[in-house]
């Protein structure tokens, strides 16, 4: 998630203080991971330096929380460009699970058991997310669904790998 672009997008509806930006961001996108203040002000000063935001006013009293920021036309263009570009798909090649399976096969340990344990853990998390989804609002449902579809993809990989363990053993330990 690009915090900078999210800030720029939020500023399109009007100038805001840093604190206000953080709160809006946390409410909409933060969920499990709210922003640190340090991150908020570091992001804002970078946007300021790049000319994507400008100071809209500074209230008396000093301190970063007194500054109000507005998005510039360069900032609006930047958001537009970001929204229009695809995110790089991450295929998680050579991930930890793959390493574990190969190591288990290589060392003659029960790889099927490892996959069973992992499946149960994935399903446990999927149950948790399903519960959150049932009781949550639409935003919560969308976030949970995103996670659920990814976990489901992992599970398919687990199933397929379980079905190919014998073949894998031939390759890994010829």
């Amino acid at each position: 998630m690009s915090v900078g672009q999210a800030f720029l997008g939020l500023l399109e509806s009007g100038p805001r203080h840093g604190y206000d930006l953080k709160k809006t961001y946390d409410d909409r996108f933060g969920h499990a991971r709210p922003l640190h203040y340090g991150q908020v002000y570091a992001t804002l000063s970078r946007l300021l330096k790049d000319g994507l935001v400008e100071l809209d006013g500074v209230e008396p009293g000093g301190g970063p929380e007194r500054k109000r920021y507005a998005v510039t036309s360069a900032g609006v263009t930047d958001v537009e460009k970001w929204l229009g570009s695809a995110e790089k798909p991450e295929p998680y090649l050579q991930n930890t699970l793959y390493t574990k399976v190969v190591l288990a096969v290589l060392t003659g340990r029960p790889a099927a058991g490892l996959l069973d344990v992992q499946r149960a853990e994935h399903l446990r998390l999927m149950r948790e997310l399903t519960q959150r989804k049932i009781t949550g609002d639409l935003a919560e449902q969308l976030i949970c669904d995103h996670a659920l579809f990814h976990l489901e993809a992992d599970l398919r990989w687990l199933e397929l790998t379980a079905a190919r363990l014998d073949d894998l053993a031939k390759v890994v330990r010829p």
């Binding site: 344990v117 149960a120 446990r124 149950r127 519960q131 379980a162």
Partner: protein, 234 residues
């Protein structure tokens, strides 16, 4: 024979012990065991051809196992006569399949009322209860329509209403969302599990989809006709 797996706490309502079933030379079940408590939603998972549907059919008294036994409230289902098993299925069990289960000539309301009519409940009372269930499943608007006039998602919700209208102790659901898109599938699962929890019915849910299993309390994995149990429960 494998000991049936029971999660800690609670007497099982339905138990399958060491179930074996072969179709010709092919062993569909090879010593599968499962125990389901009242009010519990259990997902029976596994790849295609693993034996999960055969396990469900044995538990529901539809298929007689070659060996092993099925106990419902301590009574051996596998030893009952055909008519006793049929009565058990009609009064204590409810069924939801992937598709093709509604009677095309009847309206949705009549379809849901049908299990009650078979139990000699008077038409007016049966239809009143059927209408209540259609409302719970959010398909009141299709009451007067025939199955051919409604969508797949609506049809599955009508089927769930019909499965629950008699107040069954166990609902057997075999890939209930298999023919639906994600959104409709989720809706069917949410309503099915919600209704089952409210009525304390147990659900034996066969699915190969993990997202559907997300609605369960626990999973039993079937592979090559045998069950693998994990201890994780909600």
């Amino acid at each position: 024979m494998t000991a049936p797996h029971t999660p800690a706490g609670g007497t099982p309502l339905l138990v399958g012990e060491g179930l074996c079933k072969a179709f010709g030379p092919t062993a569909a079940l090879d010593g599968a065991s499962v125990a389901i408590r009242a009010g519990e939603v259990v997902a029976i998972m596994g790849p295609s051809g693993s034996g999960k549907s055969t396990l469900l059919h044995c538990l529901a008294g539809i298929t007689r196992p070659d060996s092993g036994r099925v106990l419902y409230q301590g009574q051996e289902v596998s030893a009952m006569s055909d008519s006793e098993r049929s009565a058990l299925r009609r009064t204590r069990f409810g069924f939801v399949f992937q598709f093709g289960q509604l009677v095309p000539e009847l309206t949705c309301l009549e379809n849901v009322a049908l299990p009650l009519r078979l139990e000699r409940v008077r038409r007016r009372e049966a239809e009143r209860r059927a209408a209540e269930w259609l409302e719970r499943l959010e398909v009141t608007d299709v009451a007067g329509k025939r199955p051919g006039e409604i969508s797949g998602g609506q049809g599955q919700r009508v089927a769930v209403a019909r499965a629950l209208v008699t107040g069954p102790q166990v609902v057997f659901a075999d890939e209930p969302t298999g023919a639906l898109d994600s959104l409709n599938g989720e809706r069917v699962m949410r309503l099915l599990t919600q209704a089952a929890r409210e009525t304390r019915a147990a659900v034996a849910l066969v699915t190969h989809e993990a997202r559907v299993a997300g609605y369960s309390d626990r999973e039993v994995v079937v592979r090559d006709g045998r069950t693998r149990h994990m201890e994780h429960t909600r």
